[in-house]
Each structure stands twice: as structure tokens, then as C-alpha cells.
């Protein structure tokens, strides 16, 4: 037997999606705007995309790039963020550099990037990498900063070297916060996966979307948006599983009591 609240919790995602689609449908009917098709039109266009072999290959190619960019970013950013969080000097060294690099839109740097990396996978993966690494670095940074000093002292007293402390104490202690960064990173990975294909396209989900946009086929554009949204839900659900497993120890003991009564 499921209690009503768990039942609601279970079906809440479906309800929310349906709600969103309904709002969309109404809004598009009210606004009457060709570049903003109704939800139903968009949904009708989905099968066309998903039944096309080539589209599927495109989407898979994009996902592969995303996975690579995301993986590389996580592997690179967590150590950097942790180091920055634990060493003032490292933070002082990298912080201004990152803050100079990140605000520049990669699209604007395309001519230069093309010069060295061409227009292929490497460039797009790099863009995804940059998008993901931003939140992961900063959440790792702040997470590492917030680690209780005495825990590190305990570790040091047990004979852990600074590196070991970083890996075996700072990393797990900051993990909840790091994972928040990874979650934001996942969101940005999907976004940059699409936008990295805005200017130069070979094969990919963004290719489908921006082509449709250029051609003014807005039902396909929005169908693609729905597909990306669905990917978002799936990836997020998988991520949530992993997260819950990794940081079970940090879950609050009691529900936030503000919701009593």
C-alpha cells in the first residue's frame, strides 16, 4: 500500500510534465506566434525525429561528445577545485585566470579555436568541457573550503600526507557539495552539447535543432527541445541514484521542520 503522499511524490514528475505541456499549449494558443508552436504540434514532430536513423545517430554522436566532455571536466575540475579550496595560494593563482577565461563566450572565440582544433569533435568537446567545469570547479572549491579543519587535523595526526588528506578527507567531506556542482554541470553539459553545434555542425542533436531553427520549422525545434528535456530527466534521475548512494551519510536526519502541521 502506498500512502497518498508517496503516491503524489511518485507521480509528481509526470504531473509536472503534463502541467508544463498544458501551460505551453495554452500560452502558444494565446500568443499565436509561428515561432512558438503548440505543444501538440511539437509532440507530433517527435516520432519523425526518433524514427529517422540518421537523427538517432546524430543524437548518439552528441551524447558521446557530452559524455566525454563531462567526464573530462569532472576529472579535471574536482582536483583543481579541491586544491583551490585547501590552498590560498592555489586559489589566488587560478581564481583571476578562471574569471578572465570563463566569461568569454566560446562562440566568439570560434575563429581562433578553429585555427588550432579544426571544426570537429575536439572543438565541441572542449566547449562542453568548459561549460561543465565551471560549476564543478567552484562547488568543489567552496566545498573544500568548508571542510571542518579538525577533521583534517585528525587525518594529519594519523599520518596522512597532504595529498592523501585531499583525496581521503577533503574529497568525501566535500562530496555533497561537489555533487551539487556536478548536477549543475550535467545541466550545462546538455545545454552546451546543443549550443556547441550552433555555428559549426557535422552531426549532432544541435545540428537537427539549429537546422530546423534556420529553416523556421519550429515544431521540429520544439520537438528537439522536448527530446533534450527528456534526456535531462533521465540523466538527472540516474545521477540522483548515484548521488543518494554516495552521500547517504549526509542526508538531514529530520525533515525540515518548517513543514509541520
Amino acid at each position: 500500500m502506498m500512502s497518498p503522499t508517496t503516491l503524489i511524490r511518485r507521480i509528481a514528475p509526470a504531473l509536472a510534465c503534463i502541467g508544463l505541456l498544458a501551460i505551453w499549449q495554452v500560452a502558444s494558443l494565446v500568443l499565436k506566434n509561428d515561432s512558438f508552436p503548440t505543444a501538440i504540434e511539437a509532440i507530433k514532430a517527435i516520432p519523425d525525429i526518433l524514427s529517422d536513423r540518421e537523427s538517432l545517430i546524430n543524437i548518439l554522436a552528441s551524447l558521446r561528445r557530452m559524455a566525454m566532455g563531462f567526464g573530462a571536466a569532472v576529472l579535471f575540475s574536482i582536483p583543481l577545485g579541491l586544491l583551490m579550496g585547501r590552498s590560498r595560494a592555489v586559489a589566488a593563482f587560478f581564481n583571476p585566470l578562471l574569471m578572465v577565461i570563463y566569461p568569454v563566450p566560446k562562440a566568439a572565440l570560434m575563429p581562433i579555436i578553429m585555427l588550432w582544433l579544426g571544426v570537429g569533435d575536439v572543438t565541441k568537446t572542449l566547449v562542453i568541457f568548459l561549460g561543465v567545469s565551471l560549476p564543478v570547479i567552484y562547488h568543489s572549491f567552496e566545498g573544500a573550503k568548508g571542510v571542518e579543519e579538525k577533521m583534517l587535523w585528525s587525518g594529519a595526526a594519523m599520518g596522512l600526507s597532504p595529498l592523501q588528506r585531499l583525496v581521503r578527507i577533503v574529497l568525501p567531506a566535500a562530496l555533497p557539495e561537489i555533487l551539487t556542482g556536478c548536477r549543475t554541470g550535467l545541466v550545462l553539459a546538455l545545454i552546451t552539447m546543443i549550443t556547441s553545434e550552433m555555428i559549426a555542425r557535422q552531426s549532432g542533436a544541435g545540428n537537427i535543432l539549429f537546422n530546423a531553427l534556420d529553416m523556421g520549422q519550429y515544431d521540429t525545434v520544439f520537438a528537439m527541445i522536448i527530446v533534450v528535456g527528456a534526456m535531462g530527466i533521465c540523466l538527472d534521475a540516474i545521477f540522483e541514484r548515484i548521488r543518494a548512494r554516495l552521500v547517504r551519510w549526509s542526508e538531514p536526519q529530520f525533515d525540515m521542520p518548517l513543514s509541520f502541521s
Partner: protein, 255 residues
């Protein structure tokens, strides 16, 4: 003592930037990049100084900044309030969580044409795009921070007779502040990127537009001036945010 520490840190921070500029110069000098695509840094900074004092360029910067701040401010207000509400109330959480899951990963640029038609070619569409993109990192960080607030802090405040909704402002908000500010930092960077991108796609003013016009006619130096400007803006805004941060978090152990 503190002054010396700060200046040491500043030097440490400037070092890699100087290194980047030096290798940039190196790339140009040793012919790894044609000057038509990558002008020498000296030219770019020279032109930047020239431009900075001109009224038209200042107007471009102002246009970009207005959009940046407006979009970022909207994102902060929405992100923080929704994030805290979702952490505090299971009902809101149940509604917000799936919506965030769906909406967060959408490529918002794809909606830009629709936004243009709905909100016009002025500030509105760009501000909305900035807000939409900067919102989710802030929201997610806030939610994380708010949902891990030490229970006994809330209990203490409740026992002191704080009404529930006030607890959100008096306890949850300040206790979640470290995370919120991390989210804001990410949101700020994204705002910089998106405002620029939006101006690149369709605009009649702003730094992004300045870049596009220069790029189309291959005026490499003029193309790099807005790029460097947005870089510097990012650096300055981030430094300001850092100052706000160390003020707000002065009581926290990690500050």
C-alpha cells in the same frame, strides 16, 4: 600585514594572466596564428584604451551591463526564493523538482527567436534569456544549501518564537548563504556569456554586437576589444562578488 598578504595574492593572481598574454604574444610572434585572426595583444590593449574613452564604446558597455545586471538580478531573486521554498516545503518541492529537471537542461538559445518576437528586439528578450540561463545554477545551489541547514539552528529559532515563514529569512537564508553565493558566482559567469551570445545573435548594440560587426569584416583588433572587455568585466564583477561574500560570510568558519 594584511595589505602585504593581499598584494602577494594579487601578484600571484596576475601571474597566470600575464603568462596567458605572453603566450598570446608568442603565438603571434612565432607565426602560429595569422595576425588577421589573432592580433598581437599590444594592439588590442592599445585599441581598448582608445575605445574606453569614447562615448560610443561606453554606450555599448552600458547596454551590455544593463542587460547583464537585470538578468542576473532576476535570476538571483527567483533562484534563491524558489530554491529555499523548495527546500522548506515538501509540497513545493514535489512541484518544483520535476519542473527543474525538465527545464534546466533545455538549450535556452533555441527559445531566443520566440523571445525576440514576444518581447521585441530591445532589452527584454536578452534580459529574459540571461535570467533563464543563470537561474538554474543559482536555484540548484540554493536548494542544496537550504536543504542541508543544521536542524538545530532552525529548532533554536523556532523555540525563540520565530514564525515559520520568518525562519526562511532569518535562519535558512543566512545559513545557506555560502552555497547561494557559490551559485551566484556561477550564475554571474553564465550571465556574462549569455548576454554576449544574445547580442551576437541579434542586436543593434552591446559588446556582443560590436564583436560580430568586427568579425564579419575581419577587423581582428576590434573583434578582440569586446572580448577583452567582457573578460575584464567578469573579473571585476567577480571581485565585487568576492568582497560581498567575505562580508556576508564573516562569521562562517570557511570565510
Amino acid at each position: 600585514m594584511i595589505l602585504r598578504l593581499i598584494s602577494a595574492n594579487v601578484i600571484l593572481g596576475l601571474a597566470p594572466i600575464a603568462l596567458v598574454i605572453a603566450s598570446w604574444q608568442g603565438l603571434v610572434s612565432f607565426g602560429f596564428a595569422p595576425a588577421a585572426l589573432l592580433p598581437p595583444p599590444g594592439h588590442v590593449f592599445g585599441r581598448l584604451l582608445q575605445q574606453l574613452v569614447t562615448w560610443t564604446f561606453q554606450l555599448e558597455i552600458a547596454a551590455t551591463l544593463i542587460r547583464l545586471f537585470a538578468g542576473f538580478a532576476i535570476a538571483v531573486v527567483l533562484g534563491v526564493s524558489i530554491g529555499i521554498a523548495a527546500a522548506a516545503s515538501p509540497a513545493i518541492n514535489a512541484a518544483v523538482r520535476p519542473i527543474v529537471r525538465v527545464l534546466a537542461p533545455l538549450p535556452k538559445v533555441a527559445l531566443y527567436p520566440a523571445l525576440l518576437l514576444l518581447l521585441g528586439f530591445g532589452h527584454g528578450s536578452k534580459v529574459t534569456l540571461v535570467a533563464a540561463d543563470a537561474l538554474f545554477p543559482i536555484l540548484l545551489s540554493t536548494y542544496y544549501g537550504a536543504s542541508t541547514v543544521e536542524q538545530k539552528l532552525i529548532w533554536s529559532a523556532m523555540a525563540a518564537g520565530t514564525p515559520r515563514y520568518e525562519i526562511l529569512f532569518k535562519v535558512v537564508l543566512p545559513a545557506a548563504m555560502p552555497s547561494i553565493l557559490t551559485g551566484c558566482r556561477i550564475g554571474l559567469v553564465i550571465s556574462c556569456i549569455v548576454v554576449f551570445l544574445a547580442e551576437m545573435i541579434t542586436s543593434t548594440d552591446g559588446l556582443g554586437h560590436a564583436l560580430v560587426t568586427a568579425a564579419r569584416t575581419f577587423q581582428a583588433v576590434d573583434m578582440f576589444v569586446p572580448l577583452i572587455t567582457i573578460s575584464l568585466l567578469g573579473l571585476i564583477l567577480n571581485a565585487l562578488l568576492g568582497a560581498v561574500r567575505s562580508y556576508l560570510l564573516r562569521g562562517f568558519p570557511e570565510a
